[in-house]
């Protein structure tokens, strides 16, 4: 590995293509949803200047630390790095070169005029001098990616070319979104929680706070000019959607994700997870939609249209996030057809745990719309005793119906 990497990096330096490679790599990462702007790119280059770039591990680690900002990005960085630097076809880069040359002819001529006539023999120096062109290249590529987000599910170009594990782009549908928003708003209103017994300072609070008033009077020379009032803290319900993204559910999952996106417009406490044979948190991808566009999720092959291990996935959720996210104000929504290939004991145990911690559980099963459907699938049979509402909702109108039926007061 080391020799290969050394050869590659040496080639890139000799052909003066390291900067172009990096720009292209940054672009690929951005297409994968990484938060990379010009600052991160500059930091990446600056960090690379402080290390021995012929060391493969150092090179990768430095970029990983600078360019990743979540665990999900951290986890997939390795494979993206490998794919780009070891498997990507040369033609991709050549294409990129011609693309850049066309656009930046003018800029290059200006740069050349400004630079002194002496040639730069040191590749590192060469790399540093080519840095100012970064922002320009990326702006061009960004406008291209916007135009590419057509269709509900697309394969990325990178994966189609290099035959690597596929990455899916799952676009949240926009149709009937206004109805879905109404349903979401209605649902948030149907969950009314009692105010907490804890109190906080409120302008229009109903209790006079003697201690705080005295404390505050120190500022006004001992005269209690500004009385302080307190009132109960109002509790807000939080929502967690655990959405089955296995092959049998993939068609419906986008609708449930749309519902979660609609919920986010009315509640700041919404968490979304996808599960098939493993669990994946996608909240950040749904919340970071650009310029009001509908979010596009980037998921790996084994996270979309794969098998189903409901018990194991939900158990991972309880282990990793359950203690922190699920509490007495939480409404847990699980969207799955209950067709499980995993261990049923895990599901039993996990459902009991979620039941114990949360206030309300809704299970969405699109198969309920089929005539004569009986919840006989093993996963469904185990989960049923723990569920408050077993819903057939699978479009905006049925979500509206659901939100009119559900009512929780606590």
């Amino acid at each position: 590995m080391m020799t290969t990497w050394e050869e590659r990096i040496s080639n890139m330096l000799q052909q003066e293509t390291l900067t172009d490679h990096l720009v292209l790599f940054f672009r690929d990462l951005r297409e994968e949803g990484f938060l990379i702007g010009s600052n991160e790119m500059t930091d990446g280059i600056q960090a690379l200047q402080s290390i021995d770039i012929s060391e493969y591990n150092q090179f990768k680690l430095v970029l990983q630390i600078v360019l990743c900002s979540t665990k999900e990005e951290h986890d997939k960085f390795d494979s993206l790095f490998q794919n780009f630097f070891f498997k990507k076809e040369k033609e991709d880069l050549l294409h990129f070169h011609s693309e850049v040359k066309e656009v930046s002819t003018n800029e290059k001529s200006i740069t050349e005029n400004n630079q002194s006539a002496e040639s730069v023999e040191n590749p590192e120096e060469q790399k540093k001098q080519s840095l100012p062109s970064f922002g320009f290249h990326i702006d061009k590529t960004e406008s291209e990616t916007d135009g590419q987000q057509e269709g509900a599910t697309l394969y990325t170009a990178l994966n189609a070319i290099s035959k690597n594990p596929r990455t899916f782009k799952v676009k949240i549908p926009a149709h009937h979104f206004s109805t879905m928003e109404k349903a979401a708003e209605q649902l948030t209103r149907r969950f009314r929680l009692l105010d907490s017994r804890r109190k906080k300072v409120l302008k229009n609070g109903n209790t006079f706070d003697m201690r705080r008033t005295f404390r505050k009077s120190i500022q006004t020379g001992g005269y209690p000019i500004n009385p302080v009032h307190t009132g109960p803290i109002s509790e807000k319900s939080s929502f967690i959607l655990l959405c089955d993204s296995s092959r049998s559910m993939a068609t419906y999952s986008k609708i449930y994700l749309q519902f979660a996106y609609a919920l986010m417009q009315y509640s700041s406490k919404v968490e979304v997870f996808l599960f098939s044979t493993r669990l994946r948190r996608v909240t950040d991808q749904i919340t970071t939609s650009k310029r009001g566009a509908f979010p596009v999720l980037h998921v790996q092959e084994n996270e979309w249209e794969g098998g189903t291990c409901i018990g194991e996935s939900l158990n991972t959720f309880v282990q990793m996030h359950g203690l922190k996210m699920v509490n007495k104000n939480t409404i847990v929504m699980i969207a799955s057809d209950g067709l499980d290939t995993g261990n049923s004991e895990h599901l039993q145990q996990t459902m009991r745990e979620i039941r114990k911690r949360s206030t309300f559980i809704i299970w969405f099963n699109p198969l309920l719309n089929l005539d004569g459907y009986e919840p006989t699938a093993s996963g469904m049979k185990i989960a049923l005793p723990h569920i408050d509402v077993f819903s057939h909702a699978m479009d905006a109108h049925s979500f509206m119906e659901l939100s009119n039926q559900v009512k929780v007061r606590r």
Binding site: D43, A47, I51, Q58, V66, E124, R215, G222
Partner: protein
């Protein structure tokens, strides 16, 4: 170009001397804090040593550790500064009796001077004169979003404006380490201003080294046996997975009981060191009774 290897080796050595076993990834992150002068955001499960990294870094750099523990409701008054109103009041009353010639402006300047300023962790870090301190902002995910927004401003410029005193620029840029347990999603703006490092559970070899480094008197076989069991426990479907701190607690308990080897009886007696949930307790107890718990896979 400063090559990283020497730098990293030096950090590794000082960390080892201070009893903290790291991996190349964390070492590189610590190196980059110095190179890029950016805060480092550490995320990972509870008990894997996120906070400990900041503590050890302070020891390694022989500098002050300033800790800001975040919680719901944390505000600027508790994080940055507050005027000591009581002391100001006493001072005003005392000066009222004296017939000094001070003008109103002079009196005001007196009242809002350094001696009446209560410095909180952030300001303390900015005002540190000796050397750049390590500023640990612990469990940032517990703080409110409003505080996170305030923090962005402070960490971007490393300067703070106090209306009565003016702008205070950090004497030395502190090494900032933020930790999060992911109880809520942090804002993209904050993430973009930080370097990122995910700390996960250590592998068998690293955990044995940690135990032996932190508990020099532990029997090697016992350390391996504990680690072996803990590695297996982390693969089980428990509600609360024990971290390294639980391994250390358990090992310390066994060492204090002069145990040289793990057996059924002692495992049951010391279960509370690493199991903190009733359902998990029952599952592990069952495994101990069945004799499968101490079965070695290594």
């Amino acid at each position: 170009v400063i090559y990283i290897i020497e730098q990293i080796e030096s950090i590794k050595k000082t960390f080892q001397e201070n009893g903290y076993i790291t991996d190349p990834s964390t070492l590189t992150a610590l190196h980059l804090i110095q190179v890029l002068q950016k805060p480092l955001l550490l995320e990972g499960p509870a008990g894997v040593g996120k906070t400990e990294i900041a503590k050890t870094l302070a020891k390694a750099l022989d500098t002050k550790l300033i800790r800001l523990q975040c919680y719901e409701g944390l505000d600027v008054n508790n994080a940055l500064y507050e005027w000591n109103y009581a002391k100001q009041m006493i001072y005003i009353r005392m000066t009222e009796t004296e017939h000094d010639e001070k003008s109103v402006a002079e009196k005001e300047a007196d009242i809002f001077s350094d001696k009446f300023l209560l410095t909180r962790p952030l300001l303390e870090a900015f005002m540190e004169k000796q050397a750049p301190p390590v500023l640990l902002i612990d469990e940032i995910d517990r703080a409110d979003e409003a505080f996170e927004a305030f923090l962005l401003e402070a960490l971007a410029e490393f300067q703070i404006t106090i209306p009565e005193l003016g702008t205070i620029q950090a004497e030395h840029r502190p090494y900032v380490i933020l930790t999060s347990n992911r109880t809520r999603e942090l804002s993209d703006a904050l993430r973009r201003r930080c370097l990122y490092q995910w700390i996960s559970y250590p592998d068998f070899k690293k955990e044995v080294t940690i135990l032996r480094s932190r508990l020099p008197h532990i029997d090697e076989a016992l350390a391996e046996q504990i680690t072996n069991v803990m590695q297996r426990v982390r693969q089980m479907t428990l509600q609360k997975i024990p971290g390294v701190s639980e391994s250390l607690d358990w090992a310390e308990a066994l060492v204090s009981m002069h145990q040289r080897v793990l057996d059924k009886e002692i495992s049951k007696q010391t279960l509370g060191c690493f199991i903190k949930n009733h359902d998990d307790w029952e599952m592990i107890s069952r495994e101990i009774d069945q004799g499968t718990f101490l079965h070695s896979n290594q």
